[in-house]
């Protein structure tokens, strides 16, 4: 074990960690927006929308992310649609994460007791307000732990975007391993960066949970 390998490559690893964070963050944010739409479709009373939502989740949760990335980057090019690497990486992460996030949100909505919306309607809340003031805040609170879980999974899955040529953390660790012929040190270095990022992410989750918590209420 030669720790100086990690120290020598510290700047390179930091840069790669920045790429991992940027790609993952974009994937999380866009994934949340798309996921919310898919969730809305799935809980809709319109059968056609419900079916589209279900189909989306089945496809993007059922096909491995690696295959999705290869499809977006290489297969679409066969049809003349030249997707730039960074767009392929972010959209691959976002579209697949959206399927999981949609299901997390749907589960959270279902977990809000039915009596809540019934009571709101009885108290004279308008339809939109029932959603905005009663259902969504409670569902969001319930969904935070599984969402943070999903964000951490996505951040680790972002190592797959190297197949479209993005030099993220895992890829750079491999580069360092091949340059120095010291794989152990290179992967330990990369692993420590992942751990640090995910601890910060989990910390944000804990803060969000605390801020949204209401005394005495679950």
């Amino acid at each position: 074990m030669k720790p100086e390998v990690i120290l020598h490559s510290f700047g390179y690893l930091t840069e790669a960690a920045g790429v991992t964070i940027a790609v993952s963050l974009a994937g999380i944010v866009i994934g949340f927006a798309v996921g919310a739409l898919v969730c809305a479709a799935r809980v809709s009373h319109r059968l056609s929308l419900k079916r589209i939502g279900t189909l989306y989740v089945s496809v993007f949760r059922g096909v491995p992310l690696l295959v999705q990335l290869l499809f977006i980057y290489y297969f679409l090019a066969e049809f003349g649609l030249d997707v730039p690497a960074i767009v392929a990486a972010v959209s691959g992460l976002a579209l697949s994460s959206a399927a999981y996030q949609a299901e997390i949100l749907r589960g959270a909505l279902n977990a809000v007791p039915r009596g809540q919306s019934e009571a709101a309607v009885a108290l004279g809340f308008a339809g939109v307000d029932v959603w905005r003031r009663i259902l969504m805040p409670q569902a969001l609170r319930i969904s935070i732990p599984p969402l943070i879980n999903e964000f951490i999974l996505l951040l680790k899955a972002s190592s797959l975007v190297s197949v479209v040529g993005i030099a993220e953390l895992t890829r750079v660790s491999m580069n360092i391993a091949s340059l120095t012929y010291r794989p152990l040190e290179a992967y330990v270095g990369g692993g420590l960066f992942y751990l640090a990022i995910n601890l910060v992410l989990a910390g944000f989750g804990a803060i969000a949970e605390r801020r949204l918590a209401i005394g005495g209420v679950r």
């Binding site: 700047g11 809709s44 297969f75 066969e78 003349g80 339809g127 091949s178």
Partner: protein, 285 residues
């Protein structure tokens, strides 16, 4: 009531987003189709940029040293770019994505060293050789049981999956008195790591790669000489129909060889000079 309201908004937003995406992708298709209609060489000259791809995990040919691309391929393609009068952009892709990416027209030229084989000649256009690719073996420095290539009989050897060196090893092993167990890895570095860890007894790769590895970690690795394989060469590859690009690159490589710049690069990265054929040799494997 509440729910249908929500759905209505959602649907309108989704429709708008969908239309925007459709319009954007339509523009994309039109633009890229027009670009692909031209000859690749003419297109490279017009945009003033040659886009080349390799896997930067193949020392001494392709290395990413703290994010800076280095190696023999870098020096050579820079010289070629200068001859063609264009800027060179490098992409780092995993080896398994490199040839599919070329076919999908994600870049113009593969500057990863590709061994010339009969099978590959059918699918890709090869440039003149850029280096020797003859397969050789590397062992642990303290291993006295392997002194010549034939000593691997009855032992385990690791190599990178899908490489011609592994294929050559299989042919070589078939002629040995005892069977050789061959472990195939995603990349050579895992094979080297397992060699250092004692899980395999030798690693197979091309002679220049192994010579560099053995030199960088002489405490751990040693070469097994002579190379066991048929004489083979590394070239760069382009799409089969890009004849004009390959001709231009060949002319540039031969000029770089003739004026002594190639010998300088070889000394820098291989520690020695080597003679290379001036035309694409007929594949021996």
């Amino acid at each position: 009531m509440a729910r249908s309201n929500q759905v209505f908004i959602t649907r309108r937003v989704a429709l708008k987003a969908g239309l925007a995406a459709l319009a954007a992708s339509g523009g994309f298709v039109a633009a890229t189709r027009a670009a692909f209609a031209e000859d690749t060489l003419a297109e490279i000259k017009k945009r003033g940029e040659l886009v080349a791809a390799t896997e930067m995990q193949f020392p001494p040919f392709d290395i990413s040293d703290n994010g800076v691309y280095k190696g023999l391929d870098r020096d050579l393609i820079d010289a070629v770019g200068k001859e063609l009068g264009v800027k060179v952009t490098y992409l780092d892709l995993p080896w398994t994505s490199v040839l599919p990416g070329l076919e999908a027209k994600k870049f113009d030229l593969v500057i990863a060293p590709v061994t010339i084989t009969k099978e590959r000649m059918k699918h890709y256009a090869f440039t003149v050789p850029i280096a020797d690719a003859t397969a050789a073996l590397m062992k642990r420095a303290d291993d006295k049981s392997i002194m010549k290539p034939e000593d691997i009989a009855g032992k385990t050897v690791g190599g990178q999956k899908g490489t011609s060196q592994v294929e050559q090893l299989k042919a070589f092993a078939a002629k040995l008195p005892k069977p050789v167990e061959i472990k195939e890895y995603v990349d050579n570095n895992q094979s080297y790591a397992d060699l250092a860890a004692g899980r395999v007894d030798a690693s197979v790769n091309s002679l220049p790669n192994l010579a560099y590895a053995a030199q960088q970690r002489s405490d751990t690795f040693a070469l097994v000489l002579p190379p066991f394989g048929q004489p083979t060469y590394f070239s760069w590859v382009a799409r089969l129909d890009d004849k004009s690009l390959v001709d231009a690159v060949n002319t540039a490589i031969l000029k770089v060889s003739a004026d002594g710049r190639m010998a300088e690069m070889q000394k820098r990265w291989f520690g020695q000079t080597m003679e290379l054929p001036k035309t694409v040799p007929a594949p021996t494997i």
